[in-house]
Symmetry: C2
Subunit: 300 residues, 2 copies
């Protein structure tokens, strides 16, 4: 993994915060081992890119207005991501048995429990966003953003497009729309919720951040498609070559490997430009810039 | 169906409002027919008891503070109910092919699409609750209530308990806890969200309404178990005798048919008493009282 010392230094305590919060906030005692299945799906794994994006964005804008609002949004977003993986891995979807180097949730707990664990993780995300005390405006805005990013005009819609196009050629424009929804929407949502937690929700700076989030999301997916071809399963922690095997349209199948890689670099540059367009000074932007580099240079 | 003329008169325009709103607010154009699958799951069916509870509660307390807040909460709650049915019917759960007299969603659209449609219906519920303009306090509170009622200490947790106990005897107390979560939580949530929309969220009146919602939820489930034994599939619009066949613990298997029926009547009386305990005058309570009678006397 290609990561600067500065990013590592910033990331380490925040990852710890996220892991601790997730572990503290997902109740192990929930009925009939449902909490256990949910913890299995979420804890000890994952790059936590989405939570880090929330926290780096809030920090770039001067920090969260309300204590822990950014941490709650960060963890909520990770729950949505985690639930999507649980459902995605099920036999009626991708039918995958390996995730982050471990048996997938349905292999470990059975399909019915995996279905319920995914469902309950989605609910729990909205619980995370709405603690009893707290700024109602931040809570309502974050719920609105997360709901839209997860739903039929977001992640779930992108997954439906994906399913509908297995084995089919897809025009590059449709492929882009699919990924904008399937993975882009949640990454953009991380940037948006980070901004909302810092008190920003409109204006030119908000728009520049949205462009940043959109471009980063696209870059992330292009890199994902490249890695599916170039990395091995051990490095990925999931089955490599899966998309090609399933005959799914990807940026690599659409553009070829070299051009896909070049495009990822170009998108990274556009994302950096969008950060410049926020008009923020360089110092607060540092970690968003570093995260962008990491997304493109990562090896898994 | 045993329903008073007064209830019918009150109900008819509100059912129409709910049907219209659901049809208007679930986007048929969502990607890859996902919107179509979601509309299939939600429209043209269902008693809409949960939405009616939201609206009757708000009305009992003087009406919604913000235009359409109660209608949005009502429809959001129905989406959660609908998604749970879609997932519940899937082969890895109850494996049911008939619902409200129609093929279930996975029979009609395939399992993967059914899984995604359920997921997206849950997201959409939180979208319904959080329109751009609107009272942030009502929005945040409703999201909090709905998330908790849907999640591992609510509906999903109750379903996990249900799954874990197929073929097992369950002490009456556990059975009650299971149903309090599985079906009771959403019905209670309807009462709570109705109250929040009317500006009430604490105090003795709130507590009396919570007792009402809890008792009504329990009564509803006892009647459901009774109907599973006494009604036929055509009347129910779903497979009758399913619980007995699946060897699931029910109030009928725990108490016997006659005692279960007697208990439902007793619970209905307790629910009526809780309404009296709100200290509201009789006139605004009329429709909550009527709905309670309907829940216990219904034939499907």
């Amino acid at each position: 993994m290609s990561m600067s010392p500065a990013l590592q230094l910033w990331m380490q305590p925040r990852l710890q915060q996220v892991e601790d919060a997730l572990s503290r906030w997902i109740d192990a005692a929930a009925p009939a081992d449902l909490g256990q299945a949910m913890r299995y799906a979420v804890l000890d794994g994952g790059k936590r890119l989405r939570p880090l994006l929330v926290m780096a964005t809030a920090q770039a804008l001067g920090g969260t207005k309300e204590q822990q609002a950014d941490l709650r949004a960060a963890c909520a977003l990770e729950l949505i991501h985690a639930y999507s993986l649980v459902h995605d891995d099920m036999p009626c979807m991708d039918n995958d048995v390996l995730r982050r180097g471990k048996p997938t949730v349905h292999v470990q707990f059975g399909q019915a429990q995996a279905l319920l664990a995914g469902d309950a993780l989605q609910s729990l995300a909205f619980e995370f966003l709405t603690p009893e005390a707290g700024d109602a405006t931040i809570q309502a805005r974050c719920c609105a953003l997360l709901a839209r990013a997860s739903g039929y005009w977001g992640m779930a819609g992108g997954q439906a497009m994906d399913l509908a196009h297995v084995g089919q050629r897809m025009p590059l424009q449709d492929l882009q729309q699919m990924h904008r929804l399937k993975t882009g929407a949640l990454l953009l949502c991380g940037v948006q919720m980070g901004a909302v937690c810092a008190g920003l929700h409109q204006g030119p700076r908000w728009q520049a951040l949205e462009r940043f989030g959109q471009t980063l999301g696209l870059a992330f997916q292009v890199v994902d498609d490249v890695l599916d071809v170039t990395a091995d399963s051990a490095t990925l922690g999931k089955t490599a070559g899966k998309d090609a095997q399933a005959d799914k349209p990807t940026y690599v199948s659409a553009l070829g490997l070299a051009q896909a890689q070049a495009w990822a670099d170009e998108l990274a540059q556009q994302a950096q430009q969008a950060l410049t367009d926020t008009g923020l000074t360089e110092e607060p932007l540092t970690m968003l810039r570093e995260l962008t580099r990491w997304v493109v240079q990562r090896t898994h």
